[in-house]
């Protein structure tokens, strides 16, 4: 990589000392991956429309236009420029529902990632620092959770807690937890053998300082990559739960819930089925592309691995 491109005027000693800033180095690695940049741009667009949904969306997501039920998209025969992406079975504007749905999907994704990441990191660090009793207890518990298929476990949790936005987030976070614990433990275990950790110990650093100030920052790269990937699977799982009728309840415009109610119109109105699913696919794909780019930029060891 051409990280250091010194002009001929600078002396050799200066070249050796002028490292690019970490941020710049990261961006060089990331922007090298065209797909990742495309994913980033798409997700920025989704995030902006989610933030500005009430102002961007042409209509209210739950307002029903009874005389315009199942209007095709504007570019189709019979469509009108009034409803750009057409309307659904109750005459609600599809574009507005998709824009408002972005809010919900991003909210569920972000919240469940944080809800899994924070306890996952803490448990993982504990497991790495006390490998004998506490560590193996935690890891056995995680093994058990890993044995249950993710979606099935989420479905079971929601079935017990009852459907809804908050419970969806809790279920997805619980399902995502074991991977964070394992990842943190594995990277912390390798770091624990390094000299700098011993040095800090000798210098008298306490347990909390060792965990969060010494070791954790050095485990961040794989964690950030994994958090990105689990953000996309959280969106997929939330949509799947919504589709099964166990997630966010109608009339809230959640992408998966929209698909579930559109199922009956599969023969008459392709747009009601296609557009929400396409939005899910593109968002998840964009995040996964970003994840690939992040891995290239942050974690050279994993580069080009599947």
């Amino acid at each position: 990589m051409a990280n250091v491109q010194a002009s001929p005027a600078t002396s050799a000693a200066e070249v050796a000392l002028s490292y690019p800033s970490p941020l710049k180095e990261f961006w060089q690695g990331f922007s090298h991956n065209k797909g990742a940049v495309a994913g980033l741009i798409f997700m920025l667009a989704i995030a902006v429309s989610a933030l500005l949904a009430p102002w961007l969306a042409p209509y209210s997501p739950i307002e029903q236009y009874r005389d315009a039920i199942l209007t095709p998209p504007a570019w189709m025969e019979g469509g009108s420029s009034q409803f750009l992406f057409g309307t659904d079975e109750l005459g609600r504007d599809l574009l507005s529902r998709l824009i408002h749905g972005a809010r919900l999907s991003l909210l569920i994704g972000l919240t469940s990632v944080v809800m899994a990441l924070v306890p996952g990191v803490i448990l993982g660090l504990i497991a790495a620092f006390f490998p004998k009793v506490l560590g193996s207890l935690i890891m056995r518990l995680m093994d058990v959770m890993m044995a249950l298929p993710a979606l099935l476990l989420a479905v079971a949790i929601v079935a017990i807690l009852g459907p809804g936005l908050v419970n969806t987030m809790i279920a997805i976070a619980i399902v995502a937890l074991p991977a964070y614990v394992r990842l943190t433990r594995a990277s912390a275990m390798t770091e624990l053998n390094r000299d700098y950790v011993t040095a800090s110990r000798v210098a008298g650093a306490g347990l909390i300082r060792l965990m969060f100030v010494c070791v954790l920052p050095n485990c961040m790269a794989p964690l950030i990559v994994h958090a990105t990937m689990s953000f996309s699977s959280a969106i997929l799982e939330a949509a799947a739960l919504g589709f099964l009728g166990l997630g966010v309840q109608p009339p809230t415009p959640e992408w998966g819930t929209m698909l579930a109610s559109a199922r009956d119109y599969i023969e008459r109105a392709w747009w009601v089925v296609s557009l929400p699913g396409l939005t899910i696919l593109l968002s998840v794909l964009a995040i996964n592309l970003m994840g690939d780019g992040l891995r290239d930029a942050l974690d050279p060891k994993l580069k080009r691995a599947a």
Binding site: G35, R140, L141, D143, V144, M145, A147, L148, P149, A150, L151, L152, V155, A156, A159, I160, L161, G162, S232, L236, A239, A240, F243, L244, G245, L246, G256, L259, R263, I266, E267, W270, V273, S274, P276, G277, L278, I280, L281, V284, L285, N288, L289, D292, R304, A305, A306
Partner: protein
């Protein structure tokens, strides 16, 4: 080898008991009174309520209830459905072949096309084909499969009329279930009575195609990606260069020297896909009204049929850990380094 299997078994048992703890706890986490939930009535006579508590063993301390639960499991008693009054085990055993048949078709589809795409992409690294396959694989990996199913139904079933929309077999056929596998049953039926059952096998196959593609999309993508990267790694090995240098044909180098060695990690990934498959089966079976255990569990959840939910999940989880155990053992057989690692 024997010690290795024993060691793995030693890891398996705590996991299994952990799962029984979860399924046991799941039922007790339901908000509200368990008897009211089970009976479905709000105001019960206190005496009847106490009787029901006693009959269900819910008046005992929690640890004794758990011991009872384990005892029931050990004697093969998985309880009975609140709705159908059938034993949970019997329902599971009746519906499982449908899911197994689907899963086998899925793995066949995903393995054949995934390996093929991965191998070609690795050989033609950097080509348009490589970029195309990897792009498609990432798309497949990101696919909301419930939507994918609807799109395929919309196109192939509704628009073109090529495949049926749902179920395992057309209602016009009356096939006696012998093995539970529709492809085998229809084959046997056609052989026995070609007049009445003509076309039954083809019909069963047509019912199977779309669900298999839908459920196979993610495993296909994962296998293609893994095969490609594993192939690229092995292609760099010295023995591959040696094989080429001594003048072996390119096909022999690729399939005998490279692919065989590249397969080990791919096989592990395939084994790990079983969990994904069981989760995906819930969605796929719901979309295609496929009468397997995925749909059974979702139906049980919506009917609040708790014994089915509890022990159905236990069965599925047990299945997943058994498959992972088998993969572990096979991996140990294939790779002595794993077997002897501590």
């Amino acid at each position: 080898m024997f010690a290795f299997i024993l060691r793995r078994l030693g890891l398996l048992l705590p996991t299994f008991f952990g799962i029984t703890l979860i399924t046991f706890g799941l039922i007790r986490l339901i908000p509200g009174d368990p008897v009211e939930v089970m009976v479905g009535e709000r105001t019960l006579d206190p005496q009847m309520h106490a009787d029901a508590m006693h009959r269900l063993g819910l008046d005992k301390p929690l640890y004794l209830q758990y011991v009872d639960y384990l005892g029931n499991l050990a004697s093969g008693n998985l309880g009975e459905s609140l709705v159908t009054k059938e034993s949970v085990w019997k329902e599971f055993a009746t519906l499982f072949p449908a899911t197994l048949e689907l899963a086998r078709m899925v793995m066949l589809f995903a393995a054949v096309f995934g390996l093929l795409a991965g191998v070609i992409a690795a050989i033609k690294r950097g080509s348009i084909f490589d970029h195309g396959v990897m792009g498609l694989a990432l798309t497949g990996f990101s696919m909301p499969i419930f939507w994918w199913g609807l799109i395929l139904i919309m196109f192939f079933s509704v628009k073109l009329g090529w495949t049926p929309v749902s179920g395992r077999l057309d209602l016009a056929f009356d096939i006696a279930p012998r093995t539970g596998f529709m492809l085998i049953d229809t084959w046997l039926a056609e052989a026995a009575d070609p007049e009445i059952n003509a076309g039954a096998f083809k019909d069963a196959l047509m019912h199977l195609i779309l669900p298999a593609i839908v459920l196979g999309t993610i495993p296909l993508a994962v296998i293609a990606r893994m095969t490609r990267s594993s192939m690229l790694e092995v292609l760099r090995e010295d023995y591959v260069r040696t094989a080429r240098a001594k003048g072996l044909s390119p096909a022999r180098v690729i399939f005998i020297h490279t692919l065989r060695n590249a397969l080990i990690p791919v096989l592990t990934v395939m084994g790990l896909q079983v969990g994904t498959l069981m989760g995906g089966a819930v969605l796929t079976e719901t979309i295609f009204s496929w009468p397997g255990i995925g749909k059974w569990l979702i139906d049980a959840i919506s009917r609040r049929d708790y014994p089915v939910v509890q022990n159905g999940i236990l069965m599925v989880a047990t299945l997943v850990i058994l498959v992972n155990f088998t993969v572990d053992i096979l991996y140990g057989i294939a790779n002595p380094r794993i077997r002897h690692a501590k």
